[in-house]
Subunit: 198 residues, 4 copies
Amino acid sequence: MQQRSEETHTRILESANLLFSKNGYDATGVAEICQAAGVSKGAFYHHFPTKQAVFMKLMEGWLNGLDAGFQLMLSQTEDIPQALLQMADMVGDVFESADVHLPIFLEFWRQAMRDPAIWQATIEPYRRYQTYFANLIQEGIAEGSLGPVNPTHASRTLVYMAMGMLMHSLFDPDHVNWPDEVRGSIEIILNGMTRREP
Amino acid sequence: MQQRSEETHTRILESANLLFSKNGYDATGVAEICQAAGVSKGAFYHHFPTKQAVFMKLMEGWLNGLDAGFQLMLSQTEDIPQALLQMADMVGDVFESADVHLPIFLEFWRQAMRDPAIWQATIEPYRRYQTYFANLIQEGIAEGSLGPVNPTHASRTLVYMAMGMLMHSLFDPDHVNWPDEVRGSIEIILNGMTRREP
Amino acid sequence: MQQRSEETHTRILESANLLFSKNGYDATGVAEICQAAGVSKGAFYHHFPTKQAVFMKLMEGWLNGLDAGFQLMLSQTEDIPQALLQMADMVGDVFESADVHLPIFLEFWRQAMRDPAIWQATIEPYRRYQTYFANLIQEGIAEGSLGPVNPTHASRTLVYMAMGMLMHSLFDPDHVNWPDEVRGSIEIILNGMTRREP
Amino acid sequence: MQQRSEETHTRILESANLLFSKNGYDATGVAEICQAAGVSKGAFYHHFPTKQAVFMKLMEGWLNGLDAGFQLMLSQTEDIPQALLQMADMVGDVFESADVHLPIFLEFWRQAMRDPAIWQATIEPYRRYQTYFANLIQEGIAEGSLGPVNPTHASRTLVYMAMGMLMHSLFDPDHVNWPDEVRGSIEIILNGMTRREP
DNA sequence: ACCACCGGGACCCCCCGTTATT
DNA sequence: AATAACGGGGGGTCCCGGTGGT
C-alpha cells in the first residue's frame, strides 16, 4: 500500500516534469498532469497541496541532482585547468541528452525571478558554485597554472558562458555538437586565464 | 482621431510590455492590459487580433531595436578588440537600465522555443549577429590583433557569455555592477583570443 | 451617389440572406455580414438600425415574394382540383432551386415564435392563404368537383403537408425528386377530397 | 453522493431542455442553464464536455422517447386504417401538452441540418419510421382495406402532414383544437387512400 | 454615405482546489 | 490512499451597437 502511494507520487512528479518541460508551467493544467500520470485529481491533491508544490519539489530534485553532479566532479580533481576541461565534458554530455531536463530549467528560472521563496532556494546553491569556482581559480593562480586574473570575474564568466550555452541549446538543440561546443568555449576562456609566458 | 488611434495602439503595446515583463505572458490577462492602458477590450481587439499578436509585435520591436543598436555599434569600429570592448560598455549600459526590457526577453525565448513561427523570426537575426561577430573576429585574426582561434567558437562564446549574463541579471539584478561585469568578462575572453607573444 | 447607397443596401441584404441561411441568425455576426458584403460596419448601421432590422427586412421581402407567387397562381384558375395540381407543380419547382431561400424560412419561423411583432407580420398572410384555400375548396364542393369535406380541415391539411415537405427538404434536400413528391402527395389528398361515385 | 450526481445530471438536462425550448439553443447560455438548475459551472462541465453535448443528449432522449411511443403504438394494431386513426389520437394528445417538448424539436432540426453527426443520428430513426409506415400501408393494400396507392408516397404524405402540423402548433399553439385537427387531417388522407367502390 | 475606432458586456470553456465518500 | 463530484472565478475572444470625423 505504501508502495502504491510512493509510485503515485513518482508518477505525478514525472508527468509534471515532462509536461512543464514541453508546454511550460502555466500552460500545464493539473488535470493534464493527472491524466498523463494515470491518476485522479484527488490523488494529486492528496500528495501535493498545490501545483506550485509539485513544481518546487521538481526543482528541489533538480538542484540536488546538480549538487550531486558537482560533488562528484569536484571530488576527483588535481590540476585546475584539467579539472575545468573535465567538467566541460560532463556538461557536454548533459546537453546531449537533455530535451526533457533542460527546458524545465527555464521554468525554474522564471519562477525564481518572481517568487522570493523559490529565489532563495535557487540563489543559494548558485552562489555556492560560484564561490567554489572562484576558490578553484584562486588555487590555480596560486599554483601557477592560471594567470593573474580576477577570480571572481573569471568564475562568473565561466558560469555565464555555461548558462548562455544552455539557453542556446534550448532554443536550437540540434544546431551544434554540444560536447565540442562546450570544450571549444571553455578552451578559449581557459586560454584567457592561463599565464602568458613572454 | 487618427492620433487617438495611434496613441491607443502604443498604450496597449506599452502596458503589455510592462505587464508581460513583470508577471509573464500567461499570467497577464487581456483585461489587465486594457485596464493598465486605459483602453477598452473592444479597442484592444480592434487593434490586435489576439493577445499573441501583441506579444509578437512587441518582440518584433525588440528585435528591431536590437538590430538598430548593433548597426550603430558596428558602424564606428576601427581596431577589433577595441570594438569589442566598446560594445561591452554599451551592453553594460543596457543592463543597468533594464528592469523592464530584459525580463520580457525570457518570455520571447520561451515562446520562440515552442512556436515555430516565432522561432523562425528569432533565429534569423540571432544567426546574423553570430555570423557578423565571426567575421569580425576573422578580420581581427587577419590583421593580427587576435590570435589563431576558431572564429566560430569564439563568436559563439561571446554570445553565450552575453546571454548568460543577461539571464543572471534577470535573476539577480542588483548583485553586481553590470558595466564592470561585462567588461571583466569580455576582457577574459578577449585575452583568450589575443595573440600570445612567446 | 444615391445609387451607391442603394447598392450597399442590397448587398447587405443579400449577404445577410446567404449567411442567415447557411449558419443561422444567431451564429451570423454583423461583422461577418459586412465582410461578405464588402461593406464597413459603419455602413451597415447607417442603413439598418439593428441586425434584427435586416432580418425583418429580409422576411418582409420573403413574404411579399410568396404573396406575389400566390397572386399569380390564383389568377389563372378554372377547375379547382386542376388549380391545386397546378400549384403543386409550381411549389415543386421552388423546392428544386431552393438551397438558399428555404433554410432562412426556418429562421423566420423561429423568430416568429418568439417575437410578437414578427409573429403578427407572419400570421397575417398565413391565415389569408389558409382562408383563400378554404374558399377555393368550398367552391370546389359547390361546383361538385370536390366531395363534402370540411373545407377548413382540408385547406389546413394541404398547408400542413406543404410545410412538412418544406421541413423535410431542408433536412434531406437531395433525397427525393421534389416535384414528383409534391404531386404525389397532393394527389392523395385531392383523392381524399374528391367526390366518390358509388 | 452517487444519487446527488445523478440528480445534478438530470437537473442540468431538464433546465437545458426548458431554456433551449423557450429561448433557443444559441440564446441560452451555459451560466443560465446552471443557474436554472441550481448547479455550478464546474458541475456542469464535469457532467458534460460541452453545451453541444447537453443538446445532443437531450436530442437522444427525445428520439428514444419517440421510438418508445411508436413501439407502443404499433404493438397494438389490428386493422390498418384503424391503427392510423388510433395513432392520430395519440399524436393529438402529444400536441396538447407540448409547450415545452415541441419547440426544442425545431432546435434539433436546425442543428441536424448543419451538423453531419447530428444529421446521421436523426435521419436514421426518421427513415425507419417512414419505412414502417410504408410497410403498414402496403399491408393495408394487401388486406384490401386501402386502395392501390403508392405506399411510399402515402407514408411520406402522412409524415409531412404530421410535421407540418407540428410546425404550425409551434407557431400558433392555441389556435385550434389539436386532437380534432389531427383526426380531421388523417381522415382526409385516409380517405384519399381507401379503396373506392365504383 | 461612409468609416475607423471604441465601449463594455457576455459567451463558452477551463482551471485550481475542496469535499463527501469509499 | 484514492475517487467522483463540485464550487466558483476568470481566461481569451467576439459581438452589437454608438461616436467623432471625413
